[in-house]
């Protein structure tokens, strides 16, 4: 005969925030009716005192305590101590976490009830809440063609399964293709990524749609119907041989996306020489023919020997059916203009991280020379412009400022996770290419947490880079000389010294489309705008919806190995579902009754 444990349920309002959407009174009523519950205590104190709680436990003779809150873990140590003070077993403190089990975001009181019900029965929520099994369509959609998407697609295709990859830009490769080197090994980024891009292009199991967007998603776990708009490239991918004849005479110009805007490209362009698919496309905003409504220009058509250019091509809409969807949409960088005091956009030689990546890249506009911008006359626009050129003067003092837009309550509160390391890499490249230049890193905390990162930090330090603790406050210009003002905290002084080039280590942000895509896919976003994972620890890549997974930075900032690991993880889950032809339905299809049922099965 099992002894019934007298259970006390504490509903703690003062969690971390989201409890507002849960009806606590209804919850208390529900909990009171549960078997073995002798009392429900509504606790409003943000810091319950273990001694008085202990008194209460002793008085009410609880054998077990359930803490129900958004994040009950905050109170757990207090309750454990209270139990031990009351002479009860602290093992019998059970957590009923609303946020951790999906009741925080969706704000459903029903879910919160289920969470409490499971906690009172002593069964982990995940065990009771097992969704219905659904059969799975064997095809997969990967949204986003960065390194995460590429890795996931290749893994799945390697299992012989069909993959559709949709990329919004004209080539796959994502941000990683723009990088010069990768930390801490200093592998050349293109060298390790381009072969993977090539394999995506050549893999028979992968259908690659670049310059395309997901427009609609319907259906349910295991069987989604997805509408994809293939925007008109206006150049026939298959026919184009990238001979470059068309762009030579093209009059339209726009800042090159691939070169982070530090140089121009033509309206008909190939994003970069190793692009996959290796084909040109037309930027309709810059193309004279398109903007003039077909009245002017059209020279490229004449130049193309392969007759690959079709200026009046239209967008194409395709519909596909897939079993799983992998979201790997990555990030955009923080817009440094928002932090006015650093002068980005106002001072020519204040540049952002991606711009520096292109500046120092051998295939970039300066051939890898780290130089300053200088004024040059633009014949077309008839104005002087600040531009980079391979022979521009080299900077003597380079400052790298960390945490731009990150760890800042005025902008993004979170840490962007990669900036410290990429900044160290920048400093290394400065020291390598400009041995006479001084290089300063201004940081708050040096987050060198990964394998061999600390060693890299020490190495960069030994190379003579000045590491200065203190994020600095502003960059100003006087008499044509930039000056940087900041506090050297460890050195104990305020700095005000001349700099020639300032690199802003901008943080990562969700892409602007993520809100729309989240609503299309029916997945949640966290308060910072990243897609919300199903369970921080147990399921970092799953979502509330079955068969929709997150890989890489779109779930939160991440470096390349972590992105790749997540992408492989997602691929594993997709392959598993196809192999066993079953997957879990979306969690929001579970009702309270379902969970109660599940609970009975567990018992």
């Amino acid at each position: 005969m099992v002894k019934v444990l007298r259970t006390g349920v504490y509903i703690c309002e003062a969690g971390t925030g989201a409890a507002g959407s849960v009806d606590l009174r209804m919850l208390a009523e529900y909990a009171r009716e549960l078997p073995s519950v002798v009392k429900v205590v509504e606790c409003e104190c943000p810091n319950p005192d273990p001694v008085s709680v202990g008194e209460q436990i002793r008085k009410d003779n609880f054998d077990r305590v359930v803490i129900a809150a958004d994040s009950p873990g905050y109170f757990k140590p207090a309750f454990a101590r209270a139990m031990s003070l009351a002479g009860k077993s602290p093992e019998n403190v059970v957590l009923a976490s609303f946020v951790g089990n999906g009741a925080g975001a969706s704000g459903s009181t029903e879910r919160a009830k289920a969470v409490i019900c499971c906690a009172v029965s002593g069964v982990p929520f995940g065990l009771a809440a097992s969704q219905r099994k659904k059969s799975v369509h064997p095809d997969t959609l990967v949204i986003g063609g960065g390194v995460g998407g590429i890795q996931a697609a290749l893994e799945i295709a390697g299992a012989g399964k069909k993959v559709y990859m949709v990329e919004k830009l004209g080539t796959i490769g994502g941000k990683m293709a723009m990088f010069d080197k990768t930390f801490p090994t200093l592998d050349c980024s293109a060298c390790i990524l381009t072969p993977k891009m090539v394999s995506v292009g050549q893999n028979k199991n992968i259908t690659l749609w670049t310059y395309a967007e997901v427009e609609g998603v319907s259906g349910s776990a295991g069987n989604y119907t997805v509408t994809v708009r293939k925007r008109a490239r206006r150049v026939d991918e298959a026919a184009c041989v990238s001979c470059n004849a068309c762009s030579k005479t093209c009059p339209g110009e726009a800042p090159s996306e691939f070169d982070a805007g530090i140089c121009m490209r033509k309206a008909i362009y190939i994003p970069f020489p190793q692009a996959v698919p290796n084909s040109f496309l037309i930027d309709e905003k810059a193309c004279l023919w398109v903007t003039s409504g077909g009245q002017k220009c059209g020279t490229c058509v004449k130049k193309c020997a392969k007759e690959a250019i079709h200026l009046n091509a239209r967008d194409e809409i395709v519909e596909i059916t897939v079993g799983n969807i992998i979201v790997a949409t990555g990030f955009q960088v923080f817009d440094a203009v928002k932090m006015e005091r650093y002068g980005y956009g106002r001072l020519p030689n204040v540049i952002t991280a991606l711009e520096y990546e292109r500046l120092t890249n051998a295939s970039g506009p300066t051939g890898g020379n780290i130089v300053m911008k200088s004024l040059k006359y633009n014949k077309r626009k008839k104005v002087d412009e600040w531009v980079f050129g391979p022979d521009n003067p080299k900077p003597k003092n380079v400052a790298i400022i960390h945490c731009i837009g990150s760890r800042d309550h005025n902008h993004n509160r979170y840490c962007s996770r990669v900036c410290c390391m990429y900044s160290l890499k920048f400093a290394h490249l400065v020291r390598e290419k400009l041995p006479d230049a001084n290089c300063y890193e201004f940081y708050i905390d040096m987050r060198a947490y990964g394998k061999n990162y600390e060693e890299f930090l020490e190495r960069v330090h030994e190379e003579g880079v000045h590491l200065v603790r203190g994020r600095t406050a502003k960059v100003e210009e006087a008499d044509g000389q930039m000056r940087l003002k900041g506090e050297d905290i460890i050195g104990g002084k305020v700095l005000d010294f001349p700099v020639d080039l300032v690199i802003l280590s901008v943080g990562l942000e969700p892409v602007p489309e993520s809100e729309q895509l989240a609503s299309l896919l029916g997945i949640a976003r966290d308060e910072d705008g990243w897609y919300a994972e199903k369970d921080y620890n147990a399921d970092p890549t799953g979502t509330e919806r079955g068969g929709i997974y997150l890989a890489g930075v779109c779930q939160g900032p991440k470096d390349i190995p972590d992105t790749v690991a997540q992408a492989s993880e997602v691929a594993a889950r997709v392959i598993r579902s196809i192999l066993s032809d079953q997957m879990q339905d979306s969690r929001n299809t579970l009702s309270l009754a379902d969970i109660e049922d599940g609970l009975r099965r567990q018992e």
Binding site: T185, L186, D187, E432
Partner: protein, 144 residues
Amino acid sequence: MGFEPRIVGFLCNWCSYTGADLAGTSRIKYQPNVSIIRVMCSARIDPTFVLKALSMGADGVVICGCHPVDCHYISGNYKAMRRFPLLKKLLKEFGVEDERVRLEWVSASEGQRFSEVINDMTDKIRALGPSKIRVQLDADKVER
């Protein structure tokens, strides 16, 4: 130009060759006198390889393998280690100086050590001067 030694290096694929690659990715500089030939394991080094190299006019030969206990093939480096003294004995008979042929352990994480080994080897051979065979070969060539 002074005397530039020519050295042939035989490196096992798993530790030493990877270590040499690591020296590269870490941009650790060393002297360019050693040309590397990749073999799967230091146990693959047939004594004839060394003899061949010396007879072709190499001033030195360096063999690198995994550290004892760390061999990718469990015990290949032990085999190399046991064969090596025999080879040395033979070379001594031929009048080849002891420093000209070396066996070293370099692991996959020892880029720095690899560069040190190479620099040390090169310096020693440089001090030793060209090998007798090389001098002879060069002289033959001039005659021709």
